[in-house]
């Protein structure tokens, strides 16, 4: 842990780790509620992802700025207050921008407060690093989260409504798979993605092992 503290360099990995290696959804399984609840269309997924990213970055910034002032006894309480502040802000901003998106996401915007990713980032990264670095890291995490949401949203919307970002893809006669926009679809699509990644991983390991045999 102390190593992380001393290493102030910002590398590409600071940004990238959130996208792939420590992807909050596919690898760490954090913040599952919004992942499944609002991904029945790509546009909702995108909005949710961006809102979360916004809260991630701003709260990381604030936590990082105050990291030396906050006594450790009350740090969690402080983080929660900070996060709740930005969530409220983002809630109002979305309402001001588009009533439709606000209606679609409903209470799930406010539930960003209890998204473990944000508190986790605050605790693990922002409270130990300088503002810029923690913001870069938070941006990576946020992007990773958004991408994951999109992965689900795109599949669920294409199959479940026959459209993408609201644009019909297959014409009138397409039979949508309603189950995909229903709750079971959320579970099954995420499960499917995880299976797919796991399969990729085992295949990679197998091919590596096979190479090891032929070359070694």
């Amino acid at each position: 842990m102390s190593l992380i503290k001393q290493d102030d360099r910002i590398t590409v990995d600071t940004f990238l780790e959130g996208i792939w290696r420590e992807n909050p959804v596919f690898v760490m399984m954090l913040g599952m509620c919004p992942v499944l609840a609002v991904t029945n269309s790509a546009i909702n997924a995108l909005a949710m992802g961006l809102a979360t990213t916004f809260v991630l970055i701003t709260s990381s910034l604030l936590v990082s700025l105050f990291r030396n002032l906050i006594p450790s006894e009350v740090r969690i309480a402080t983080y929660i207050v900070i996060i709740a502040t930005f969530v409220t802000i983002v809630d109002y901003i979305i309402q001001a921008l588009s009533q439709d998106v606000y209606n679609a996401l409903g209470a799930f915007i406010q539930l960003i407060v209890v998204n473990c990713i944000i508190l986790g980032r605050a605790e693990a990264c922002a409270s130990r690093n300088k503002p810029v670095k923690s913001m870069v890291n938070a941006a990576g995490m946020g992007l990773g989260f958004t991408l994951a949401l999109l992965c689900l949203g795109v599949v669920r919307e294409i199959l479940g409504s026959g459209s993408l970002f609201g644009l019909p893809l297959f014409g009138e006669q397409f039979q949508p798979w309603v189950v995909m926009v229903l709750p079971p679809g959320g579970f099954l699509v995420l499960g499917g993605w995880l299976l797919f990644f796991e399969w990729l991983k085992t295949r990679k390991q197998q091919s590596l092992a096979a190479e090891g045999v032929t070359h070694g």
Binding site: I70, P71, V81, I89, A96, Q99, D100
Partner: protein, 225 residues
């Protein structure tokens, strides 16, 4: 725990809370007009859509005493949205209706046209029915056609509808006040009917006598386009 750290804790918490309070209030104030405008626009859109031929709308509230008031935020009572054409003729009023469907309430806005004493349009504004089946109440053309001209006459006593609005099974509509249900989505259809009936029974007898007043408000006050 030393008093120094407690002081620091209180100070930090206080500072953070103050800061967040400041931020929230700032944003709240900054976005408030936009949000209210958004809400108004979306209602207006619905009202103009549901009242055919209307180009301008106006929001009234009927309070507990049965008085018609112009809506001000925070006011309690029954919402009435009036729709006028360009020349200020009252084309109809839009009223909210709500009833319980399969998986939660189905909220609607419907238009009442004084000219024919009937309901001439309906829009579901919130529902959580099963996609593909229950939500046919929005998508099914035959079902929506029910509301082209659905009788909603107030009775002679002026305290209820002459004929209650009911949903009947698909293909069994005989009277102008009946709604032809969607086969396979009977409950959702019934929810719509129940919502309409409940609201119309309560609201229309109050609104009908006030119609001239509502019409007159356009000329005196002017409604936003």
């Amino acid at each position: 725990m030393s008093s120094k750290t407690s002081t620091a804790m209180i100070a930090t918490l206080g500072f953070v809370t103050a800061l967040s309070g400041f931020l929230i209030v700032t944003v709240y104030q900054a976005t408030k007009p936009a949000i209210e405008e958004n809400k108004r626009l979306s209602i207006q859109k619905t009202v103009l859509e549901v009242i055919k031929g209307a180009t301008a709308d106006k929001h009234f509230i009927i309070n507990d005493k049965g008085e018609l008031l112009e809506a001000v935020p925070g006011m309690k009572g029954i919402n009435i949205y009036a729709g006028y054409d360009a020349r200020g003729k009252l084309m109809g009023v839009a009223v909210e209706g709500s009833a319980q469907g399969y998986s939660g309430s189905v909220d609607t806005i419907y238009a009442y046209t004084p000219a024919c004493e009937c309901i001439t349009g309906i829009k579901v504004i919130k529902q959580t029915e099963t996609p593909g089946l229950g939500d046919k109440v929005i998508t099914d053309k035959n079902f929506v056609a029910n509301f082209d001209k659905l009788e909603a006459k107030v009775n002679a006593a002026g305290d209820a509808l002459a004929n209650a609005i009911v949903a009947v099974k698909h293909g069994a509509k005989h009277n102008p006040w009946e709604i032809d249900a969607i086969s396979g989505a009977t409950i959702s259809s019934k929810a719509i009917a129940k919502g309409l009936n409940g609201s119309a029974q309560q609201v229309l007898p109050k609104v009908v006598p006030l119609l001239p007043t509502i019409e007159s408000k356009f000329t005196s006050e002017g409604a936003k386009p």
